[in-house]
Amino acid sequence: MAIDLTSLLAHEMAALLRSGSTSSRALTEAHLAVAERQNHALNAWLLIDREGALRQADAADARIAAARRDGLDGVAGLAALHPLHGIPVGLKDLISVEGGQCTAGSRILAGYRAPYDAHIVERLRAVGAVFLGKTNMDEFAMGSSNEYSAYGPVSNPWDLDTVPGGSSGGSAAAVAAHHVPLSLGTDTGGSIRQPAALCGIVGMKPTYGRVSRYGIVAFASSLDQIGPFARDARDAAALLHAVAGRDARDSTSAPVSVPDELLHLAASDDEAASWLRGKRFGLPREYFVAGMDPDVERRIREGVAFLEDAGARVEDVSLPHTDYGLATYYIVAPAEASANLARYDGVRYGLSRRLEGGDFIADYLATRGEGFGAEVKRRIMLGTYALSAGYYDAFYLKAQKVRTLIKRDFDEVFASGIDALVAPTSPSVAFRFGARTADPVAMYLSDACTLPVNMAGLPGISIPCGLSEGLPVGLQLIGPAWSELMLFRAARAFEGLTAAASWSGMPPTHLAASNDGAGPTPADRAAALATLAAAALVAPR
């Protein structure tokens, strides 16, 4: 059998498991081999748990064997297994797995061992998924390029000199490079959708409250959501189905039912595309503004043409407060972060510096000063300032009021009968290492098209819609609260419409180079580019 198991989609692997043509162990071995071989060049993983993954794979295989024995000819027993049973999955390294590391990309959590499983980890264990390891990320999920990880940057498998996006950069790169068919990330301002776009895969941020965050390292609690990465809409929907739903341990997780139709998106391209007939899509004009890469805009407009040709109505709409999203977000998110990150005090867990002299304030200053990286410090400073006496009304309260206006913009558009909004996910394709690290605001602008969705608590999905100069472009679909199923149907329809496109299902162009275990690491590449940039600055003088 010459089939490359890592090139398959998760639902294709599931079919092979059920037919007995492969085993979870074979799938896991194949994925481990690629992940281990390419991690030198990509740095997508902070931990590859070979032993743990193989143990879970063997347990999954035992379950399949038992199901085959128990059911009538095995059919009924096998049908009861979740589509994720025996499938390798990557977990962003801010998701607690009992007894395992959970660094959140920070030095301050180096050596920390999670004492319990996150809710989503319990759910994935229950369906029999296999945890391949923990993926790299921007420290505490603060960043849009993965360059703010304390454990080094991640390369984009489409061009190893460019970033994969962030903050869930490792999760996105690992799925794009076929290390796993599925991974989980978190999205506070675009941290799933933007890296999905830059890596040419599917990524969804569900409605706020859809997935329990129990056991997830908190960044901004009124914005954070967990969501799936995959190489197609069906796989992403199945992963969301596995982890979504009410959990009493996260009081913001909502008692809203999770539709089983997530597991039954149309298999045929034509059937999927036919769903679009009569649907109404809105094109928010504020998302197509100066500063956007014109070629990215062309790809989005071509995507819109596909939708129209399939019988959907696409109309211009306005979200007039879009322009205020960035400022609002960069008050609300740092404010909440400054409160959430106060817990890292070196007393109960994590990095701890105890100085001579017994001054506990000095201990805090030393622990936090050493443990946090530059971007995290910036955001804690911003948040502390925005919440401080005398400035609370001018900044935090003001931002919460503008947040109301941003949410109302979306509410009004959906109330007018628009089913979903179509927008770019990112104003540009993947950028080179160092391109945006010098100016924090330039980095923040990477999320201009995604963060208003978090402010409003809505679901959004990024799907591949072509290439620009060889790098992937993501199309974002945004729906009303709890409309994930509709968004997945729309995404699946788009896949069906574009199945014949040259870029559809195309593997990343730098996969072969990623196999070089002796070549430059992402950190080496970033350093080389920084040297070049410095030389170019100096040269004209």
Binding site: P115, A248, A254, Y330, G369, T384, Y385, G390, A394, A481
Partner: protein, 122 residues
Amino acid sequence: MVARFTPGIVAEVAGWLGYHRPVAALTRSDVEHVAHLARLGMTPAELDRLQGQLNHILDQYAKLAELNTDAIPPTAQTIELENILRDDVVTPSLPAAAVLANAPAREGEFVLVPPILGAESR
């Protein structure tokens, strides 16, 4: 603790509809003060860099003053859930050993913490 700032440049700019906005730039001593409130020990070079970066970011905030939000209620969270209480039942706690294993310093079943009261008050 009450935070007090003495912004280096405070310009009261009359905005639209008679709305006033303070455009405050953080001085170096403001940055040090916030860093202390946030319990972030930083080098002089880090503080220098942060001063410029924070002021650049604060400039972006000024855009919000264009909007009159006097009659707009704040949004703290986006889904309409309120006061979800858990059932009043006893559930097992995390095993003490697993929790204590992460403590930087401990004594028996206790996490050893630095003294927070001065010697004179003990």
